[in-house]
Symmetry: C2
Subunit: 134 residues, 2 copies
């Protein structure tokens, strides 16, 4: 949530991006997708460094969006389990493609960064169109 106005108008995929790729949501979905139904603590441990507060927030959001299902067991020590819904599982192929792209192209991204950082910054000006890309 939280788009001031309309990055959306220029780009039809913004709503999905905001929902699926906001901070922590990807690791959470990934974890639930690959390790199946898990309790709160399990998630907390797997996503080392997340605080319970934030984890709760994100899980609530995902539950509201229908990507994650929450099951509350009113036992002595309370037990709550989270799992991916069918809707959420439909994102699987997308994640897979994302991973594929990463494997194939992250190295080049890394090189681009080094190359960029190497330039003193003044050199970045005045690049007469040397016809690159496309």
């Amino acid at each position: 949530m939280e788009q001031t106005a309309d990055p959306q108008t220029a780009c039809p995929v913004t709503p999905v991006v905001d929902m699926v790729f906001s901070r922590w949501t990807t690791p959470i979905l990934w974890s639930l997708h690959h390790h199946g139904r898990q309790r709160f603590v399990e998630l907390e441990r797997r996503l080392t460094s997340i605080t319970p507060k934030v984890l709760t927030q994100r899980l609530r959001q995902l539950e509201r969006d229908g990507l994650v299902a929450r099951t509350y067991h009113a036992e002595v020590p309370p037990r709550v389990e989270y799992e991916i819904t069918a809707l959420g599982a439909g994102l699987g192929p997308l994640f897979a493609q994302l991973a594929t792209w990463a494997d194939a192209n992250l190295p080049e991204v890394e090189r681009a960064r080094e190359s960029y950082d190497a330039r003193p910054a003044p050199a970045r000006q005045a690049s007469t169109d040397t016809g690159r890309a496309r």
Copy 2:
């Protein structure tokens, strides 16, 4: 950018997500992808509501990551053009799949939200596993 520590460890796609799906980057890439090479002002106009400062920041980041190429023409009124690189263009299929998912599932997400918001919130507890999803 900016992951304090390691949402990454739990999820291999986090680096890509941070790079491609941080705020405004999706609309920018989308615009460059669909309308081709554009000048700074054109982008600014298309992404109504973005400020030049932020647009510059994002473009720099994308340039550094090698997804966007910048061409500076040292003319009387300066002219700068941005375009997608081959690397950036490789994200096309991914965006397409994202759009497809959106078309197919956003309505259901919307329904999930309404349904969730309808519940008084106390009712959200004690849901004996009514075997949902998966």
